[in-house]
């Protein structure tokens, strides 16, 4: 049985059809790699899954429970979307890691100790929690978002180009963290949009091309 299933999704860029009637299914402990030519609509598809982009008629089921449009906040809590822009809020590193835990739907409390361990694991040990985020590079922001996602501990992480701006070493460290620290836990799954070479035996590869989602 799949952990996450969502669809059908159809999207247009202006008047051009991007894709039509696309369904996404992901099983437990599975990592799906979504790729396709630029402009094929990968980002739009992720945004439609979490409802940040309108997706009329789409159904979303997570762990056997289906979510109505009004329940999207609940769905998003457990199916976390990481934007390719890796935005930060003005403020410190710690504030950026902590803010979701102050939302009404938050399940756990923020764990600063765990945060420090994870920051170290992705090669951000040189950052101090009280530091302002303005000076961070794109690669650092992506890793910060990844650390926050793992702390948040959703069921599914949908990551849009999470390895942008990383060198070989930090890419490996981040990928190992997602794979080892997150994906191995029970009831978890990953969907990654990426151009980087994730090895074929670790992922199920889906390809978005000419308006269809195909297995590769």
């Amino acid at each position: 049985m799949s952990l996450l299933s969502a669809g059908p999704f159809t999207a247009y860029a202006k008047d051009r059809l991007l894709y039509e009637e696309v369904f996404i299914e992901i099983s437990e402990n599975e990592c799906v790699l979504l790729s396709g030519p630029s402009g094929s609509g990968k980002t739009t598809l992720l945004r439609q899954i979490v409802g940040l982009h309108p997706a009329p008629g789409a159904q979303r089921t997570l762990r056997g429970r289906s979510y109505s449009l009004r329940e999207l906040p609940l769905f998003r809590r457990d199916c976390l979307f990481l934007s390719s822009e890796a935005p930060c809020l003005p403020g410190t590193i710690e504030e950026n890691l902590r803010f979701p835990f102050e939302l009404k739907l938050a399940r756990d409390d923020f764990d600063p100790e765990k945060a420090r361990t994870l920051l170290k694991a992705v090669g951000l040990a040189h950052l101090s929690p009280g530091q302002e985020v303005q000076s961070l590079s794109l690669g650092e922001r992506h890793r910060l978002a990844m650390v926050r996602a793992i702390l948040w501990n959703p069921c599914v992480i949908l990551a849009d180009e999470p390895f942008t701006g990383l060198d070989e070493k930090t890419f490996q460290a981040s990928w190992n963290l997602l794979k080892g620290e997150f994906l191995q836990r029970p009831g978890k799954a990953l969907l990654i949009v990426s151009h980087d070479g994730l090895s074929a035996d670790e992922v199920r590869h889906l390809y978005l091309r000419q308006g269809k989602l195909i297995a590769k």
């Binding site: 979490v50 409802g51 940040l52 982009h53 309108p54 449009l69 009004r70 999207l72 906040p73 609940l74 769905f75 998003r76 809590r77 976390l80 979307f81 990481l82 934007s83 822009e85 935005p87 930060c88 809020l89 803010f99 979701p100 939302l103 009404k104 739907l105 938050a106 948040w152």
Partner: protein, 262 residues
């Protein structure tokens, strides 16, 4: 002590001498503003004279209809002006600003005229029209500043708002920062005005009342009332308008609908 010096047309024509001098300067130094200066001066005379005639007529009426009519007109104009210079718009924005102006005039206006001043009869135009006018004029300032800042924030900082939404934030959790930013911006003019009142500026109402022969302490009392009233109008207007705009642009399925912004 009361009474004021009556101004005659002759006095005003002497004052018009300033306009002539300014125009002369413009011609001599080729500033090229003499035409605009004369048109503006003429507009001042015509518009204010018309207003004077209308007010004289309304003051002489013994019913509330004309007062209500002119108030409606003022509210509508204020709602329109609040979005006139805004770069960002969304469908039915005019309805929202007019609603805010109406509510502002009703809530703040009735507290001041009916409860604090207790004017009689309740529509007494001598108090109601200038006070509501001031509420609208100031509320309008705050509303347009706050609305524009709010819409700018949504447009330019969309990723930050969607970051909140991604973690399952509710509508108002996601809008807390933009609302705070917009309301703060909207309140700056009145906070400045209250801070420097009497030090840097001699507020207009007070100046006017002193000229009209009211004892300074009473003029001060009126000025404080006006300032507090305007602070109320600013606060009410900025909060209400960002609330309405947020409600429109963050849809019921918790999606930031920027496509509505033009």
């Amino acid at each position: 002590m009361s009474g004021y010096i009556v101004l005659t047309p002759f006095d005003l024509s002497l004052a018009a001498f300033f306009i002539l001098v300014a125009g002369l300067f413009s011609v001599v130094f080729r500033l090229g503003v003499e035409r605009r200066l004369f048109v503006a001066a003429l507009r001042t005379v015509v518009q204010l004279s018309l207003l004077g005639l209308v007010l004289e007529w309304i003051f002489s009426q013994k019913t509330f209809y004309p007062v209500l009519l002119i108030l409606c007109f003022m509210v509508f104009m204020a709602g329109r002006e609040a979005v006139a210079r805004s770069k960002n718009r969304y469908p039915l924005i005019l309805l929202d600003t007019t609603l805010v102006m109406t509510a502002s005039a009703l809530v703040v206006g009735s507290v001041v005229t009916q409860i604090i001043l207790g004017v009689s009869p309740w529509y007494n135009p001598q108090y109601v029209i200038p006070l509501i006018g001031m509420i609208l004029g100031n509320s309008l300032n705050g509303v347009s500043l706050a609305l524009d800042s709010f819409l700018d924030y949504l447009r330019h900082r969309r990723p930050e708002i969607e970051l909140f939404l991604s973690f399952g934030a509710t509508k108002w959790e996601a809008l807390r920062l933009p609302m705070r930013y917009a309301i703060r911006r909207g309140l700056i003019p009145i906070i400045n005005a209250m801070s420097v009142a009497g030090i840097v500026s001699l507020p207009g109402i007070m100046t006017g009342q002193i000229l009209a022969g009211i004892p300074p302490i009473q003029a001060v009392a009126y000025q404080i009332l006006i300032m507090f009233m305007l602070a109320g109008a600013y606060t009410f207007g900025t909060i209400f308008v960002t609330f309405l705009a947020g409600h429109k642009l963050l849809t019921s399925e918790n999606r930031l609908a920027l496509e509505k912004l033009t």
